[in-house]
């Protein structure tokens, strides 16, 4: 009798967990659809040919690539796109090197004030970056790195604070046994060789996570980029440049082109994510959970 009860109870549990699973899945699908609607709208609007301003419907009546052709024909857009690409790429390279070296050093070396340094960086990280905007603008202006020279200025701003984002990668490095470093050092490797030949190949997910986040941050930045380029089209990034098309006097003639621009901006990041998604998830969870 008892066995039967157990089995019945087990079956009951299974049934209730199946129901709750289904409810969760339906809910997630609905949330995903809601979340995707704006993106789908933008993609559809980018192919609309009949009117260039905002309209009250989603599916275009006339389809074509004219918006894309016009967009890519514009030299200012190309300039903004190249600006954004340079900033993101250089930042990704420099920030990755700085973050990984910083994380490795904090994970492996014991030196005076190490704990204090980490705590200081954590406290500084709690302040919103916006607080520094005015002083940063003054400094960059004095250095001649604003307006037309906003690209190197922005790179400097993004790279300068990159060492503070060491948490996730340090957490990941902490999970790699120190005896591997020691074995490599006994085998004849220098500290640099240990980092590049042993630790980084093992930390591939976190390296990719770092590259992705370092690329993404400036790619979509608006506030700092707007401030530092200060209305100068030569120094604008794509977000600042395109935002101008949404002002009252321009939106009616540039809205569909804005949508096409949005799609083009999203393409590199989407490709990067699709290719590296697996590592990204491993990087986030590896650093956060094990660290």
């Amino acid at each position: 009798m008892n066995e039967k009860k157990k089995i019945r109870r087990h079956m009951g549990l299974r049934a209730s967990s199946a129901i709750s699973n289904s409810v969760i899945h339906v809910l997630l699908v609905i949330i995903s659809i809601i979340w995707l609607i704006p993106f789908v709208c933008i993609v559809l609007q980018s192919f609309r040919l009949e009117l260039s301003g905002p309209v009250g419907y989603v599916i275009p009546k006339k389809w074509g690539f004219d918006n894309y052709v016009a967009l890519l024909g514009r030299s200012d857009f190309r300039q903004w796109y190249i600006n954004t690409f340079i900033i993101a790429l250089v930042n990704a390279a420099l920030q990755t090197v700085i973050v990984l070296c910083m994380s490795y050093a904090l994970s492996r070396f014991r030196f005076k004030m190490r704990g204090a340094l980490m705590r200081l960086m954590m406290v500084l990280g709690l302040f919103p970056g916006m607080l520094t905007m005015i002083i940063l603008y003054r400094v960059l202006k004095d250095l001649g790195l604003t307006e037309a020279n906003a690209v190197p200025g922005l790179i400097l701003v993004y790279v300068a604070s990159s060492g503070m984002g060491y948490y996730v990668s340090k957490g990941f490095f902490d999970t790699i046994p120190k005896s591997l470093d020691e074995a490599a050092r006994v085998d004849g490797a220098t500290r640099m060789q240990v980092l590049f030949k042993i630790i980084l190949p093992l930390a591939k997910p976190i390296v990719i996570y770092t590259i992705l986040t370092a690329f993404m941050a400036p790619w979509g930045d608006y506030v700092f980029a707007r401030y530092i380029s200060f209305e100068n089209p030569v120094g604008m990034n794509v977000a600042v440049g395109m935002y101008k098309w949404l002002t009252l006097d321009q939106i009616s003639s540039n809205y569909t082109m804005f949508c096409a621009g949005g799609v083009i901006v999203a393409i590199p990041v989407t490709i990067l994510f699709l290719c590296l998604q697996r590592y990204y998830v491993e990087g986030v969870t590896g650093g956060a959970v094990k660290g």
């Binding site: 046994p177 005896s179 591997l180 020691e182 074995a183 490599a184 050092r185 006994v186 085998d187 004849g188 490797a189 220098t190 060789q193 030949k197 042993i198 190949p201 093992l202």
Partner: protein, 373 residues
């Protein structure tokens, strides 16, 4: 092949925690020295100082006559096997073994020859293209040894290399290390907490406790003439029995009186006590379990009650307690007992034990030092 000399070596960690005190030792060329001791005794720290993985706080370390205090591990010409193998997980076995040679920019043909030769000696040729995760514990340990072997280093350091293996594999690998030692014919420094490993592998054993060397000697020396109570208790399994008793002298002959039974200290030990003119009085008497024998009731017999009888196969470990409640362990070869006696060895049985003077060890209860030092 080289000698290693440690002179007044100290290791002080932050907050003045002293891990190793004034360590003095000369390891001769081609000698196999084992550091043994309980956790936290400083044995691994000392090995890591020789390797250059820990800075020394004071003193000098010489390898082959050269002071290496400030040299990086890579410049000390040493090889090391780690407790957790420390194999590079992203490399194949071949790449793991070849790693150090590649750093030295050894030509590819020579790397191939040296790696395959090491693999052959260690019996891992079939696994050369596998990643470490596809290997068993024993195979990983062999790869770790191969990685150290291939470098032709002056000194071979091993930090508890067998402690992650199961008992059977540990015995097998221990024998293989002995064979390897014969093949490599180089200087070995080996760290373990297992006294059996220390006894079977070492030419000399360094027994450590709380950062201090307790005794340095051959396995026979440390077993037969432990310098103090700690060494006596640490070396030997099951550990030595200690009995608080009195050392007396009558007509020029020494006696002990464990549990009120007067036993003569005859043989070599008696002679040695006489030669030393050992002071009589309270002592800690040490007797190894294998040196105690079961006997019939009589003048030299100590009556005991059997508490537990552990059947170990070739021998019995009898846990007994005396009339005053002192617990002792007696190790009896099964072959020496007839079936009737064995049947009677059950919990609660009354037995009598005795031991001869030549197997006794005498320690000062205050200083814990051996009276015959």
């Amino acid at each position: 092949m080289a000698s290693v000399k440690l002179t007044n070596v100290k290791k002080i960690y932050d907050k003045n925690v002293v891990a190793v005190h004034d360590f003095n030792l000369e390891i001769h060329d081609k000698e196999f020295v084992v550091f043994v001791g309980p956790s936290g005794c400083g044995k691994s720290t000392t090995l890591r100082m020789i390797a250059g993985l820990e800075e020394i706080s004071d003193g000098t370390i010489e390898i082959d006559g050269e002071v290496v205090n400030d040299l990086q591990p890579k410049d000390r010409n040493i090889a090391m096997v780690f407790q957790n193998y420390a194999l590079y997980p992203h490399m194949t076995v071949y790449e793991n073994i070849a790693f150090s040679l590649r750093l030295q920019k050894v030509p590819e043909d020579e790397i191939y020859d040296r790696v395959t030769r090491a693999a052959e000696i260690l019996g891992i040729t079939d696994y050369l293209m596998r990643k470490p995760r596809a290997l068993s514990g024993g195979q990983r340990q062999r790869v770790a040894i191969g990685r150290a072997m291939v470098r032709d280093s002056k000194v071979f350091l091993m930090d508890e290399p067998l402690s992650n293996l199961d008992a059977k594999l540990r015995n097998q690998m221990r024998a293989e290390i002995i064979l390897l030692r014969q093949k490599l014919d180089t200087t070995f420094v080996y760290v373990t907490h297992d006294q059996t490993e220390a006894m079977t592998l070492g030419d000399r054993i360094v027994i450590m406790k709380d950062g201090y060397i307790q005794q340095v000697g051959t396995p026979t020396e440390v077993f037969e003439m432990p310098k103090n109570l700690f060494v006596a208790g640490f070396i030997g399994a099951p550990q030595m029995n200690f009995i608080e008793t009195e050392l007396t002298v009558e007509n020029g002959s020494y006696y002990v009186k464990p549990f009120g039974v007067k036993l003569p200290v005859d043989g070599e030990k008696g002679t040695a006590l006489k030669a030393k003119q050992a002071k009589t009085g309270r002592i800690t008497l040490g007797v190894r379990p294998e040196h105690i024998t079961l006997t019939q009731a009589g003048a030299n017999a100590i009556p005991c009650t059997l508490e537990v009888n552990e059947m170990m196969g070739s021998e019995l470990h009898l846990h007994v307690y005396t009339e005053d409640g002192t617990r002792l362990v007696v190790r009896v070869p099964t072959v020496s007992l007839d079936a009737e006696t064995r049947k009677g060895l059950v919990a609660g049985a009354k037995v009598h034990i005795t031991f001869e003077g030549k197997v006794m060890h005498f320690f000062d209860p205050e200083s814990t030092e051996n009276l015959l030092n």
